[in-house]
Assembly symmetry: C2
Homo-oligomer: 297 residues x 2
Amino acid sequence: MEMPTNRQLECFAAVFETLNFRQAAEKCYISQPALSAQIKQFEQLLGILLFERDKRRVLPTAAAKSLFPKVEKILRDTRILAEDSHRFGEPFSGTLRLGVIPTVAPYLLPKTIRSLHREFPQVRLSICEDHTERLVESLEEGDLDVLLLALEADLGSAETIDILSDPFWLVVDSKHSLAKRQRIAFEDIAQENILLLDDGHCLRDQTLEICNRVTAKGSDDFRASSLPTLLEMVAGGLGVSLLPEMAIESECRPGRGLTPLPYGDISPFRTIGLAFRASSHRQPEYNLLADLLRREM
Amino acid sequence: MEMPTNRQLECFAAVFETLNFRQAAEKCYISQPALSAQIKQFEQLLGILLFERDKRRVLPTAAAKSLFPKVEKILRDTRILAEDSHRFGEPFSGTLRLGVIPTVAPYLLPKTIRSLHREFPQVRLSICEDHTERLVESLEEGDLDVLLLALEADLGSAETIDILSDPFWLVVDSKHSLAKRQRIAFEDIAQENILLLDDGHCLRDQTLEICNRVTAKGSDDFRASSLPTLLEMVAGGLGVSLLPEMAIESECRPGRGLTPLPYGDISPFRTIGLAFRASSHRQPEYNLLADLLRREM
DNA sequence: TATTCCAATTGGAAGTTCCGATCGAACTGA
DNA sequence: TCAGTTCGATCGGAACTTCCAATTGGAATA
């Protein structure tokens, strides 16, 4: 079944409104013969006569009268469609679906969400907290737009933007022998019982990697499902832990019995950044987002 | 403001549904490059990206997801528009606006309406009863589609279809001296007081015209606004009247004190027929209507 | 009678849409 | 690892639409 053209509908509406081919043509910014042809085409397509024309005037048929409101609605809808869609061109229009890992979310998001809403009031944020592997999966499926995570992990084919280096601190309980030291070195942890997060946390893998460098061994006896839990175990004297700097302030509040110890200049670190599909074409937006996150630090 | 074409919408919908340019192209009966071009155009028109394409797959953007339902609705509405309008092509679709003169309506319409509904159930009839002059005006304005009337009157530029010749009878009161005659002649009315309808009735003009031929004179003392009233006056002995044959049966029922007298072979008559705008293009329908009216006689 | 206005038509220019062929990248199976 | 397949993008030219300027002829106007 053949479909009428939008131009045919426009011409029809113009003629119906003016009842004058010449004026209607002007309204459509085409010549009168072109308009005549469009109307003729439209009539042939529908198999009916839309206007009775004699030499002195133009009269809409019953069919034209009944069609006109519908045609007008279609044209209006189409116009609105085009106008509405322009909004999508602006940065952060619509919903931004953000994936974040659990060892970043609590420390960066609260401030970020607030300033994002301040700078781009139109944004609607949808946040998903999960492990790197599942986030990357969702990203590739198109269920998420952008990830905020440690870039050391395997991110598949995603493109990335660096935001900041997040150095690791050593956290010991305040009664620990290392607690009085001003500064520590890699090798100091070689003899310690290093507590780890559950499988799946990239922080676990990074900690293990660092342990390997100094032939230290992570503890297999306990696995915490979150950093607060992990630090409870440290405070309880079960072992020590590596903690990203961004988490120090909120996790090692005074009186919790924890002492955070910075490494020197050669501190191990993780790189926090954004990841997104190479095909997404929204990199300008993600750069804006990265800028905003950097400013938050 | 530029408008998207229907083809762009179709292509967009097809790609959105299949997420595969090749299949979508097949669905639209065009080649894949042509489809690619349509999508590209549409994206440029809207100023946004609709699909993320990489070498292995196609992913709709948030904008595409939000646009799709609207696009689908527009396409559906457009299709329905085209389909619906085909109904207008069938004879007597929609409303047939019929004008009838008062000296025809009561005698022809009841039967006609019934059989019209029987043969063309889809017809919706709108009837307007008025004098010839106003009917012709309405016809020319496009407020009526077709008239059923006596074709002797001035019908402007309307085209006409003859339906039947409607001979005049002479009607006298049963005590009148002519009432016993089997047959009468023109000249018999020359001495009579001939009663007339109001101004505007074409039957009045026709009667006067016949009077002129025999130098009879119409009465100016009484004017009836309808045939039943006129015949009451005849029955009351105020004069005689010419009555169209189609009205005889219902107006001169036995016991009403009226005697209808037929003229011979050379009876005067009026011609009943249809009139419509030359530009209307519905002559085939009006021919059907005329056939139906002839069969009713 | 001359002028104006109208829609239709014509012929040719301008613009579009389309297709086939091809490309390069990325999977698939041998 | 290598041929075969599949994907969307691109290109050049063919086919087709759409358009305009000029004109026609009928009707209304003056």
